[in-house]
């Protein structure tokens, strides 16, 4: 119990004093995960929409694979991205290894299946409802997807927040492609892994509480900005 209380106390101290190291690490976590989520949403939401309205023979298999990719082990994604970005790899010339950009790339790959799968299910249900109407009004395919995306925006927001949650709590991929380098690629999760390995449990717990608080803060901010739970009919 005592290390946990110590951890809480230390977390409070770090936050109140606006510890510069903490701010840097937390800032990097936010930057990387928010960017990755935004990119994954930009790709995954329309992809979910396209999948919802398209009819083709391999549809069921495609959706099954997409759902399965939600369980892709982050550390394996990190490993593959590492190999691609390493100096002897095909994309080595870009020199992206051990940079925050590489971390964003890895997390985007991890988050896309989550966003696309949840979005697809929500949009499929809405498409079943709108199908006859949009057919009757001769909406083009792009117009159908746009209409579905807009009308289902609350469910899509939840899908994106699920993706964000995965990204901000992820440690395996960014550890491998980022390298946990001090002042450069050290995020909250990799710092926790490091401090735990060194035996600094109080500090590790402190960082953990900060991470949780950050995730809650981001979610609260998103809900407040999009004014959910305002009307009586949500």
């Amino acid at each position: 119990m005592s290390p946990i209380l110590d951890g809480l106390a230390q977390a409070a101290r770090l936050l109140v004093s606006l510890d510069p190291d903490l701010l840097e690490i937390a800032g990097l976590s936010l930057r990387v995960s928010l960017t990755a989520t935004a990119l994954a949403a930009a790709i995954g939401l329309p992809l979910g929409g396209l999948l919802a309205i398209s009819r083709f023979r391999a549809r069921r298999a495609t959706i099954a694979v997409l759902n399965a990719l939600m369980g892709l082990p982050p550390v394996v994604v990190g490993l593959v991205v590492y190999v691609l970005l390493s100096r002897s790899g095909p994309l080595g010339v870009l020199g992206l290894l051990f940079t925050p950009t590489a971390m964003v790339i890895a997390q985007t790959i991890i988050v896309i299946p989550i966003v696309a799968s949840i979005a697809h299910q929500a949009l499929r249900d809405l498409w079943a409802e709108y199908h006859d109407l949009l057919l009757s009004l001769r909406a083009s395919r792009g117009q159908r997807i746009a209409t579905l995306l807009w009308d289902a925006r609350r469910a899509l927001l939840t899908a994106s927040l699920a993706g964000f949650g995965r990204a901000i709590g992820e440690v395996g991929a960014i550890m491998i492609v980022g390298g946990n380098i001090d002042q450069a690629t050290r995020a909250l999760t990799t710092a926790i892994a490091l401090e735990t390995g060194k035996g600094n449990f109080a500090l590790a717990l402190a960082l953990g509480f900060v991470l949780i608080a950050l995730a809650i803060a981001v979610n609260l901010a998103v809900h407040t900005l999009s004014r959910t739970e305002r009307d009586s009919r949500w």
Partner: protein, 224 residues
């Protein structure tokens, strides 16, 4: 037309006049909905063809359909009515202005910003009708539009339909309500078990139906 091995409609040969209001009548399962959906291009026949003056693609673009259970977008009343104009490329402001006018005609002027899902059944159907009319269709198809509405809403919808007919729009609607059919029909298309039993001008059909099935239906008997 067949689905799952069952013949839903046909063989059937029908010629629609160019003006007026046709009522498609018949017992449940007669194929009324199927006929309307075929006319609108929502279903495709396994055999046979539809001929429209000017070609099918053109004609289908100038039709509008009102479903039995109104399909409303999860948006405000105004946004719902404006939606077909937005699809056609109109600006948001222009579409909303036109929609506001149509809404007022349908008696929904006070509800423009309410979510469409919050309306009553009659109001929803009036919304669907207003939305169907916003692109000034040449042909308006309605599938039992007043099926679940109370008398007041039914009166309002029928009044709107009379106005539209007077303005020159061709209307084809199905109904269960014999009284409504008598009130509105210029001509009647009577279906039973997927076949066309009788097609006749309204007055003649109700006064003296030529077929025993039609006579039985008008009496209120259940057909086999």
């Amino acid at each position: 037309m067949r689905r799952g091995g069952r013949r839903l409609l046909g063989p059937l040969t029908l010629r629609l006049a160019e003006a007026g209001l046709s009522v498609v009548m018949g017992p449940n399962g007669a194929g009324k909905t199927t006929l309307l959906r075929l006319l609108h291009g929502l279903e495709r026949p396994q055999a046979g063809a539809l001929h429209w003056p000017g070609g099918a693609h053109d004609a289908l673009g100038r039709q509008a359909f009102v479903f039995q259970a109104p399909i409303l977008l999860r948006r405000s009343v105004l946004a719902n009515i404006a939606y077909p104009l937005r699809l056609a490329g109109a600006s948001r402001a222009a579409a909303r202005a036109a929609a506001a006018e149509r809404a007022a005609e349908a008696g929904l002027g006070d509800h423009l910003d309410r979510p469409a899902q919050a309306l009553s059944g009659g109001e929803k159907q009036k919304l669907a009708l207003a939305r169907a009319l916003i692109r000034a269709p040449e042909v308006l198809l309605l599938d039992e539009p007043c099926a679940s509405l109370d008398n007041a809403a039914t009166r309002d919808i029928e009044a709107m339909l009379r106005r539209i007919r007077a303005a020159g729009t061709r209307i084809v609607m199905s109904t269960h309500d014999l009284g409504q059919a008598r009130r509105l029909a210029d001509d009647v298309i009577f279906l039973h078990a997927g076949r066309l039993i009788e097609a006749a001008p309204g007055a003649a059909f109700f006064a003296a139906p030529r077929t025993p099935e039609a006579a039985a239906h008008l009496r209120g008997d259940l057909l086999p």
